[in-house]
Every structure is written in structure tokens, then in C-alpha cells.
Amino acid sequence: MKYIAEVEGKEFEVEILDEKRVRIGERILNVNFASVNDQPVYSLIVDGKSYEAFVYPGEEDWQVLLQGRQFPVKVVDERERRLRSAAGGGAAQTGEFQLKAPMPGLIVSILVEEEQQVEKGQVLVVLESMKMQNELKAPRAGVVRHIRIQPGETVEQRQVLLALH
């Protein structure tokens, strides 16, 4: 199976040849890959070098936490890649974004109003959790719609707070 992995602006063609061999670019490497205790912790031995990392699924990528550093990696298989390039890029920027509570907590304040135009990075909502106030920011520019919460309200994790168009 052939994959394309994109990390830190670089692209790697990675082919899983069999259980013990992986081709990356031009090189064929001996690998021994195992999850530890069925957790998202993976041990990888590549030609004798031993690595261990957390690998979590992100929204559209994988977060690899390796030796105290985090690398977001996008992985697509060849078929997906062809489909995507046929569909054309840039589509991800449009459409509705729903701001969800990243953790349970208490809404301290809402700093925007419906129909307000906001910039990328602008603080939308302040959520208190674990004695800390956390600023939830706009991931991109847009117009605020459907504010579904009020200050003082308790929210669950992943509860939708408002939308951005």
C-alpha cells in the first residue's frame, strides 16, 4: 500500500511492502512496529534504531509526539490523493465552522455578537475549566452566527457554542 505523508512542509512517499519492510522515497527499511498495550503509544525499530511516540488522530491529520516534539502529519493513500486532486483544493476554507467546547466548563464571557465579522485568531469565548480561563479563538476569519450559549452557563465537552460562516 502506498501513502503520501506530509510533515513540516515536506512530502514523503511511504510504501508498506510487508510486515517488516517499508519503502520511504528510494530506501527500503527494515521496520518492527508495535503498539504498546493497545494504547496510542507506538514502538518503532527501524534498522536497529528504537523510537517510541504517541500518535493521536487530529481533525484531519495525525499528531506524532516524538522525543518531546510534536509533528502534525497528513497521511493520504494514493487513491484518496487522486480523488482529492480531482475535486480541486481550497474547498476546506469555505462552509460553516462550529466552535465546540474543547473540554467541559463554565462560559465566563462571550466577546462577539451574532453577525459580527471576526478576524482569524480573535477571541470569541472565554471558558473556565480547572480554575483556568481559556480563550477560544477563531480558526479563520468569518461572520459569527448561532450563538447557543450564555455567560454563566455550564457546557459539556464538544458542545457546539457558536458557528462561523
Partner: protein, 504 residues
């Protein structure tokens, strides 16, 4: 000796206190909220009583309920830990009224140090230097402030009386620019807080946060156990502490230690306490405040001096003399603590909640962990995000840093995000290694990406690509298998079979 101690706290500090009691042969009583039934402090204590629902104000802050548990359990002393009720004068007084020991200072000492203006006045009287300023004076006109400013010295800060969060704050370098800055500060304060009052405070440049551990008994003996360097902070939360401070020498330690003892004596202090100082780059030091309780970072002092501070707290609360004189306190090697918080350093340190599914603690020589969590435990949003303290000791500061790196690399916590990568990045930072940092370091000069592109970087990028691909591939295969296997899952039936065999 006390027979039974009630621990009015939760998490790692409750566990720490229970351990000290057990090692002294004292029984322990835990209290807990509905969210904490499975907490370690409940599991380790000899007795455990429910206080109420998860929010602190309905459980750990309910002094009335805690005092009910004291009566019910027959405890003869109470240890408040830190936070919650630890610095509540009225709670300490209520314990004494009930005829049980409060393992901490007298209510009057808590009160004297709890009010900032009073604390400042008290220590000034004892000859302890404070950050010069006009806060205690009350409202002053621009003319008054301009007259006073040269006495404070430049640079100084204009601060909003009602303020906070930097609103209405201005840094003033010379008297000439001060009138205009006063106007703009008042304007901003007025619009932010509806109150334009301001005061002046000396700007302590390149300030380090250095604190002294104090121990005092009821026989008039007061000693200090040396300093802790706590300048690695973010949003005023300490993240890393070390003892001794890389900035300190024996002469300054002796001088500041003596001042710290004087500050404690000024409020007739008994038990463990901490005097916090700001120290500028010219080694001038200023009293900041006194914490009249056990401090989160007490273990680094324990590792550098060999003194068990919690055991010593219990000892002096019983009316005994301190086990050590000042001369007997020896400083040996170097200790560092990293506070492990459930927060994501790659996402603006956002708190992270969830169930810990797996964990692997670093152990071995020179490593200590104080924690209240374990695999299977649920991190809830109700309490502090600190889930563990990782403490190491080394013969030298360099050895301690290398050991901390090794320990951080070994530490695995799965199920919530933690700030372990933050600590790893810090331990690799050249400025940290050089001891060259102040309280603004994390916010102004530190970045998670700062030191990435070293000789390991290229290999890491490639390995990350491979790991993500192998994981994605594995999940695809797994998912395909599950769909193929269909709706039957035999595991429950196995279980039933085993049950039936057992009951034959």
C-alpha cells in the same frame, strides 16, 4: 502524638500528607467530593467521608461539613494542605474552638499575612525591604505622584488601583515622560474598570521569584531551609522550581534567610511557611508575600536538605521543638521540580480532561513523583490541572537537568494531554541550562518551536512520517477486519462460560 489526622484536601498533596502520617503511625481521615470517590487519597486513607458534589464550593470549601467529619471520626488534628481552606483564618480558628490542632500557623498569623497592606506594613516595621510604591497610601493626585516618583526611582510602573491584567499599566523611564503616561493610564483604567485611580510601584527589572522555606516551633525557634527559585512561570502559575537558585550565593542566602526568619518572627509564626521575594539583577531583594502553609514545591527543599517538611509540620503542631537547629541544616546537591499539568502546550496550554488509560512513571535513582492519579482515573474539569510533580535530585545542577531530561523522556501519560513536552523543551533551552531567566522568560522569550532544528530534526521528521503512516495503515487494516468479522463478538460468552464453571 496525634492519633488521627483529617486531611482537608485532595489530589497529590492529600496523598503526600497521608504518607507522612502513615510513616509516623498516625491514622488518617480523607474527605472527598462525588467526583473523587476513586481518588488515591480516598483509597489510601484509613477513613473516608463524602462532602458533597464535585464543585469545590460544595465540597472541599465546605468548612462546616469538614468540621462535622472531624466530630464524627474523632480526629484530633487537621492538615489543610495548600489551597482550599489552608489560608482561611476563620477555619483555623474554628478548629481550635473545636479543641483540635490545626497543622499550620495561628489564626492571627494567617490574618496578618493574608491582608497585603497589613503584611507590607508589618514586615516594613521589622526592617524587611518591600517593593517601593504608593499602594498603601490611597488615592493621590498627579502632582502628588510626580513629587513621590523620584523617591521610588525609575524605571517605575503606573498601576490601576482597581486593576489587573495589565490594563491601565504604564512603564515610566523618566520623570519627563511621566505626566503624559499618567493621563493615558488613568484614561485606560477609567474605561476598563470605571475607576481612574492609579498608584506607583518600582519596576523590578529582570526580576526573579525566589522564596525561602521557613520552619518555626512554638518555643520561639525559627529556621529557614534555604531558597527555591520559582521564576519559570506562565500567567503567574509556577511551572518549574529548583533548589538552590542558580542565582544565589552563600552570602546572599544567609542575608535573605535571616530576613525571611525576621519576617516570620514579626507575625509570631509557628509551623511551615514561605516568604516570597522578588530579586533584581543587582541582587536587591523585596518582600512580596508570605504563604502561611505548605507549598506545592516543598519537595525540592526536602531533597536538597533531607528534611521531611510534612513530618516536621506535624511535630511542631504537637508542641514539640524543631528537630533541627539552623546550623544542622545542610544543603546537598540540586533538586528540580516540573509540575505536570493536564494541558496541551501545542494548543495554548488549554486544559485537557478525560480518563487516564495508561501511564508509565519514570523511576530509578534520584527521581521522586508526587501524584494523585493513576491509570483508570478520570481528570475532571472541577479542580486544578496539576496531576503530578516530577522531582529529581542530582549532585550538581547539570546532573539534575540531565536526570530530569531522562525522566521526562520516560514519562508516559495516555488519555489526557500534558505539558511534558513543554518541560522537555525547557530542559533543552540554552538559557535555562545557563540559569539565565527571569519571571518573564516563558511569556517573552520562550517558544515550543525555538530549539527544534537541531541535528536530530531531519531524522525526527522522517520517523514521524513513518509512524503516522504505519498507524494510519494499521487502523485501516483493523477497521476492515472488524467489518469483515461481522456482528458476533464472542468475548462476553467466554465470560459467562467462566462464571458458570466457577459456580458448578
Amino acid at each position: 502524638m496525634f492519633k488521627k489526622v483529617l486531611v482537608a484536601n485532595r489530589g497529590e498533596i492529600a496523598v503526600r500528607i497521608i504518607r507522612a502520617c502513615r510513616e509516623l503511625g498516625i491514622e488518617t481521615v480523607a474527605v472527598y467530593s462525588e467526583a473523587d470517590r476513586q481518588s488515591l487519597h480516598v483509597r489510601y486513607a484509613d477513613e473516608a467521608y463524602l462532602l458533597g458534589p464535585a464543585p469545590s464550593r460544595e465540597s472541599y470549601l465546605r468548612a462546616d461539613k469538614i468540621l462535622d467529619v472531624v466530630r464524627k471520626s474523632g480526629a484530633d488534628a487537621i492538615h489543610p494542605g495548600y489551597g482550599f481552606l489552608a489560608e482561611r483564618e476563620d477555619f483555623a480558628a474554628a478548629c481550635l474552638d473545636l479543641g483540635i490542632a490545626f497543622i499550620g500557623p495561628k489564626p492571627s498569623s494567617i490574618a496578618a499575612m493574608g491582608d497585603k497592606a497589613e503584611a507590607r506594613a508589618t514586615v516594613i516595621k521589622a526592617g524587611v525591604p518591600v517593593v517601593p510604591g504608593t499602594e498603601a497610601v490611597g488615592n493621590m493626585t498627579d502632582d502628588d505622584l510626580l513629587r513621590t516618583a523620584p523617591n521610588i526611582g525609575f524605571p517605575l510602573l503606573i498601576k490601576a488601583t482597581a486593576g489587573g491584567g495589565g490594563k491601565g499599566m504604564r512603564e515610566v523611564k523618566t520623570i519627563e515622560e511621566m505626566p503624559l503616561l499618567l493621563q493615558s493610564a488613568r484614561r485606560e483604567a477609567e474605561s476598563a474598570f470605571g475607576d481612574g485611580d492609579v498608584y506607583l510601584e518600582k519596576l523590578v527589572e529582570g526580576a526573579r521569584h525566589i522564596e525561602f522555606q521557613i520552619m518555626a516551633d512554638s518555643h520561639g525557634n525559627v529556621i529557614h531551609l534555604g531558597e527555591r527559585e520559582c521564576s519559570i512561570q506562565r500567567r503567574h502559575q509556577k511551572l518549574i522550581e529548583e533548589a538552590p537558585s542558580p542565582f544565589m550565593d552563600d552570602e546572599l542566602r544567609a542575608k535573605m534567610g535571616a530576613v525571611a526568619v525576621k519576617a516570620a518572627q514579626a507575625v509570631d509564626y509557628v509551623n511551615a511557611g514561605t516568604i516570597e521575594f522578588l530579586v533584581d539583577k543587582d541582587r536587591n531583594y523585596y518582600f512580596l508575600e508570605m504563604n502561611t502553609r505548605l507549598q506545592v514545591e516543598h519537595p525540592i527543599t526536602e531533597m536538597a536538605t533531607g528534611v521531611d517538611i510534612v513530618a516536621e509540620q506535624i511535630r511542631v503542631a504537637r508542641g514539640r521543638q524543631l528537630s533541627y537547629t539552623q546550623e544542622q541544616i545542610q544543603f546537598n546537591g540540586h533538586a528540580i521540580e516540573c509540575r505536570i499539568n493536564a494541558e496541551d502546550p501545542y494548543n495554548n496550554f488549554m486544559p485537557s480532561t478525560g480518563r487516564i488509560t495508561h501511564s508509565l512513571l519514570p523511576t530509578g535513582p534520584g527521581v521522586r513523583i508526587d501524584t494523585g492519579v493513576y491509570p483508570g482515573f478520570e481528570i475532571t474539569p472541577y479542580y486544578d490541572p496539576m496531576i503530578a510533580k516530577l522531582i529529581v535530585w542530582g549532585e550538581t545542577r547539570a546532573q539534575a537537568i540531565l536526570r530530569m531530561r531522562r525522566a521526562l523522556e520516560e514519562y508516559r501519560i495516555v488519555g489526557v494531554r500534558t505539558n511534558i513536552p513543554f518541560h522537555q523543551t525547557m530542559m533543552d533551552s540554552h538559557r535555562f541550562m545557563g540559569g539565565q531567566y527571569d519571571t518573564r522568560f516563558v511569556e517573552e522569550r520562550f517558544s515550543m518551536d525555538a530549539e527544534r532544528k537541531d541535528e536530530k530534526y531531519d531524522a525526527q521528521v522522517e520517523i514521524a512520517a513513518m509512524l503516522a503512516t504505519l498507524t494510519a495503515h494499521r487502523e485501516t487494516e483493523r477497521s476492515a477486519q472488524i467489518v469483515r468479522r461481522g456482528e458476533r463478538d464472542a468475548s462476553n460468552w467466554k465470560w459467562v462460560g467462566r462464571w458458570e464453571r466457577m459456580h458448578r
